[in-house]
Symmetry: C2
Subunit: 288 residues, 2 copies
């Protein structure tokens, strides 16, 4: 019988609980979340088996999944060095950045506790444990950053998440943080900045943003995401994000110059290339 | 019996034909498009009644809708000054920018031909006459820029599009171009630039863009739009677009500085404000 303790029962943590409950492993799931509404809801639905608090219940777990924001994960990794844990426990996380997490986890590893970094590339603009779904991760990429876990522990963790048919990808913490900055963190900054800039510019326009069509809405959907989580991400991956914003702005200035110069060829190439790349992305999604 | 000639049977033009066919006006629809496949398809579906060419059929129309890219509309407005038209004809367009169109239309108006600028705020990343839908405009904003049309002509045009339950909004050409730059043109540039920058940075990354989750995909969906149309839009609204890109980059630099400085409060405010504005947008959509 495998016992999994999940700390943080938001969108990601509660989806993990839902997926694991469908797996052949059928683990007992202990859930830790300060939000009573979420905890009671998930307990009532049978998605978790028991409400606990991380440090009091940690000694009972075979797998501990830290599923809060990165800032919370960092604190919990330090706290876990102060309590008794099972000898073969696997501690893992789902944090959106990995360098800071892996560095902090070294303290656990020194105490012979196995740690594995993880990050499922799935999300929603919705937040909270009620919004979790057992299909949220379906066919998504799940990054693994090797820490000190054994192959058997990795296999057991993957078995628990088997119903999601994940694409498991091993990366270094550094490569991970650069990549997710590009495909997730920077896009979030850009979308939020677009919403804020447009709102500011159109403040005194009677029609304003309300005339926006589906294009604006889909382009800015991610700007509705949880500000606490995204602030933590910015703080923990600031270097990669800032570097890439610089690159983004340099490129943007180039196309701005082409627009000012009415350089039709260059503008066409710009949109044509984007269309090609973007369509490839949809095709890849369909063949997964 | 009202005869409507639509030139340009792409996504927008063919959707207009579809909507008008559902209206109580039940106009005869003459369709002009160089693409044989589109023309034959729409004829076969009974969405248009006859395939024609603009200049040869113009004299038969009560309403002429120019539904090509802005660059084509500009040419057609000049061409229409060279042919005979019905005395009470209304010429209108659906171009994404209005200042250049209204200026060019002055030549028609000098010949006592009624012109009205128009722009439905609807679209899709899909293109072409097969992708048109009779519900594409449902509850959308339709901008009207007054030219020389009579109230009766405006009323007749609105009657033809009644099934779409549009929100008709009168604006000046200048206000229109500033507003759509903000809510449509600039977002398209940003999305295409994000796709191109990410593609360039991740060219040699084995995982790369394929790991992108739904957030990146929805934020960049509009980058899949038709490059010909978007090049024409950039050329015809370059000043507003470039000005707003400058503002956008200034704001982006501010949040970049906050990220570099680990200014958690400022970063949180930035995301929190964006979330509030973005959620209001969804609520407005729901109450329409």
């Amino acid at each position: 019988m495998t016992t999994v303790l999940i700390s943080g029962l938001g969108l990601i943590g509660s989806s993990i609980a839902r997926i694991m409950k469908k797996s052949d492993v059928q683990p007992t799931i202990l859930g830790d979340d300060p939000n009573d509404d979420t905890g009671q809801f998930l307990l009532g639905q049978g998605i978790i088996d028991e409400r606990v608090t991380l440090l009091k219940a940690a000694s009972r777990a075979d797998i501990i999944v830290l599923a809060g924001p990165v800032s919370v994960i960092i604190k919990q990794l330090a706290q876990l060095t102060t309590v008794e844990l099972k000898q073969n426990v696997l501690v893992t996380d789902v944090g959106s950045t990995k360098m800071q997490v892996m560095a902090t986890a070294k303290r656990l590893q020194k105490r012979q506790i196995a740690f594995m970094g993880g990050h499922p590339m799935a999300g929603s603009h919705k937040t909270g444990g009620r919004a979790g779904r057992e299909d949220l991760f379906d066919h998504a990429t799940y990054f693994i950053v090797d820490g000190s876990q054994t192959p058997a522990q990795t296999a057991q963790f993957k078995a628990c998440l088997k119903p999601a048919q994940l694409r498991w990808v091993n990366v270094s913490a550094e490569a991970h943080d650069g990549l997710v900055s590009e495909i997730s963190h920077v896009p979030h900054v850009l979308a939020a900045n677009l919403v804020n800039t447009a709102d500011h510019q159109l403040k005194h326009d009677a029609v304003g943003l309300s005339a926006a069509a589906g294009g604006f809405k889909s382009a800015t959907r991610i700007a509705g995401a949880d500000p606490t989580m995204w602030t933590a991400i910015m703080l923990s991956n600031s270097e990669a994000i800032s570097d890439q914003l610089t690159t983004y702005m340099a490129q943007l200035k180039e196309i701005q110059s082409a627009i000012e110069a009415h350089d039709a060829d260059k503008i066409y190439q710009f949109f044509e290339h984007a269309k090609t790349v973007r369509e490839r992305l949809d095709q890849e999604g369909e063949t997964q």
